[in-house]
């Protein structure tokens, strides 16, 4: 509205101000998206030469059991990390929203994993998970529990990765939820108290509905983050690890195909599959939000 009567100079200034962001999005997001889509319909011949092959990559992808195992792994990681991570984030946020001693210190401690380098985090967790000399197994041995192969047992590796994922996720989501909790007017709790509601009813009928828009944002971003899981698998599970098949995600498979095996076209098709899965899940979430997200 400010620019209704603006002259050409004002428009030029406005465009100049938004240009860096628009260019960034175009070059770093939009162009790679279309380029990947194009590559997924080609065959890489090396030296930057690509030959149009139509749907060949997608036919191969449909018949590739490794891809479908990666889809299952990705969805399993996403479901587990989002359900556990968001639940824990909410619990921690609610607790740290109370007036408790050392609240600021606890908030800092929970947020620390967010600002820690993923590589460093992975290295520390690798040591913690070490079957022979790891701290976790050492502590378990004190209770007579034998060594668990956290990262090499195909049944345990996914859970181990999820634990690390949740550990890094809780701090960030906690901050978002804490901000949402602090936005809830005190009068809602007071009205509930006058109605005779106890702590559980207050949580169910005031906290949850009032925080639902923030919770929705947290769930959507966590799901997208979960579907893109790569770094912890890359750094904690070696390619020769027997648990690789049961932990390999779609993004890891894309990396393997594109950069280890040099088949960038097939890698692009895997990325397109991930994009479609992400869009479908996000669309479902957007549709379902009407049932549980309440905007004032």
């Amino acid at each position: 509205m400010i620019f209704v009567n603006a002259g050409k100079k004002d428009w030029a200034f406005a465009y100049a101000m938004v240009a860096p962001t628009v260019l960034g999005v175009l070059i770093l997001n939009i162009y790679p998206l279309f380029k990947s889509c194009y590559l997924s319909f080609t065959e890489s011949k090396g030296f930057g030469i690509y030959k149009w092959t139509g749907l060949d990559n997608y036919v191969r992808l449909m018949e590739d059991p490794e891809v479908w195992q990666a889809v299952v792994n990705t969805l399993a990681y996403t479901v587990l990390s989002v359900v556990i991570g968001v639940f824990l984030s909410l619990v921690v946020a609610v607790l740290l929203n109370e007036k408790i001693r050392g609240r600021g210190l606890y908030r800092t401690i929970y947020f620390l994993p967010v600002v820690s380098a993923p590589a460093a985090v992975a290295m520390v967790w690798r040591w913690l998970y070490n079957a022979d000399a790891g701290l976790i197994n050492y502590l378990l041995s004190m209770f007579g529990i034998g060594a668990i192969h956290w990262l090499t047992d195909p049944r345990m590796a996914m859970i181990s990765i999820v634990i690390v994922g949740v550990w890094t996720m809780v701090g960030y989501n906690m901050v978002l939820l804490l901000a949402g909790l602090q936005e809830i007017p005190k009068t809602f709790y007071e009205a509930a108290e006058m109605d005779g509601a106890g702590p559980v009813q207050k949580f169910l009928h005031v906290t949850l509905p009032m925080i639902s828009p923030t919770l929705f944002f947290v769930v959507v971003t966590s799901v997208i983050g979960g579907l893109q899981v790569f770094d912890f698998i890359f750094m904690m599970i070696e390619p020769s690890n027997t648990a690789m098949a049961s932990t390999q995600s779609l993004v890891y498979l894309f990396y393997k195909q594109s950069f280890l095996m040099g088949d960038r076209s097939y890698g692009a098709a895997i990325v397109m599959l991930l994009l479609v899965i992400t869009l479908i899940i996000t669309a479902i979430q957007m549709k379902l939000q009407k049932r549980w997200v309440y905007y004032e």
Partner: protein, 374 residues
Amino acid sequence: MAEVKLSHIKKSYGDVEIVKDFDLDIRDKEFMVFVGPSGCGKSTTLRMIAGLEDITGGDLLIGGRRVNNVSPKDRDIAMVFQNYALYPHMTVYENMAFSLKLRHLAKGEIQKKVGEAARVLQLESLLGRKPKELSGGQRQRVAMGRALVRNPSVFLLDEPLSNLDAKLRVSMRTEIARLHQRLQTTMIYVTHDQTEAMTLGDRIVVMNDGIIQQCGTPMELYQHPVNQFVAGFIGNPPMNFFSVELMENEGRLFASSESILIEVPQQQADILRAAGEKEIVFGIRPEAIHDAAMLLSENIDIAARGTVEVVELLGAETLLHVRCGRELIVASMPSGKSYHPGDTIELVFTTDRMHAFRKADGRSLLYGKLGGAA
């Protein structure tokens, strides 16, 4: 229905005293309004009655029962909040029924109570809607309904109309007055709007700095304010105040400043002489000031001469802001004559309706000493 007794109630946060020695008896079925500027302690007092704030000192009795340590839900009260505080995920019906469900009332009884409240508040067609689908006025009615279904002994209303636009506020004000007449329940209403206080209250408590300045009927407060604060707070537009000197001349008492000269009526003059003050704050309401040119009598005393600075046309009346030397006088004139900025005007005061306040502490020198005063 119950009377509410606040006996020497105090509220402190550390060393800061928010409410000081609040002593008040609210009668059964009375509509009591707490009014005052922001931070005067009116909402804190209401919240102490509700049980949402601890009471630092004194006794609170509702229906003869001391409730200082009784939880809000067990005080037999209901409260309407400024921001309505409706549960966003519940329908209007569910919002109204919630407290009854928590009390484990039978479904049929809940339906009956909610239906009755919805009928009284004309919410029947909205029972299936969620709060976000309602207008501000409708939400406010639902908040009232939520309180109503509980059939409480005392209704507490904390600035319930502040979030509404001006027109809706006026219509909701009428609805609240009608509701009180219908229910005949004790209501305690907090507002910073003196018009709401004047139009709704059987009695009004004016508060400032955590202290009751005055408690009385709207007309008592309007006609006989106990101090300069109450005189300035009650009434719209507010009372005019001038710092004046009192002078004797041939047995008559005059109040004068650089630009104003008023002869004090005999009865008031005797009281002021007895008070022994030489300098006072003279107060006069805008409607007690007249345009000399509009008066038929020739034997009139001009109190002030000045220039019209601002003209506010309000329909039934016209407000004039008249510059008289250093003083800016607001006068309310009947509509009919047109005024323009820059017009010179001679003002006459109805001095029988004058107020006089001690300069040192603002206390009224006439309060309780003239006929009709409390």
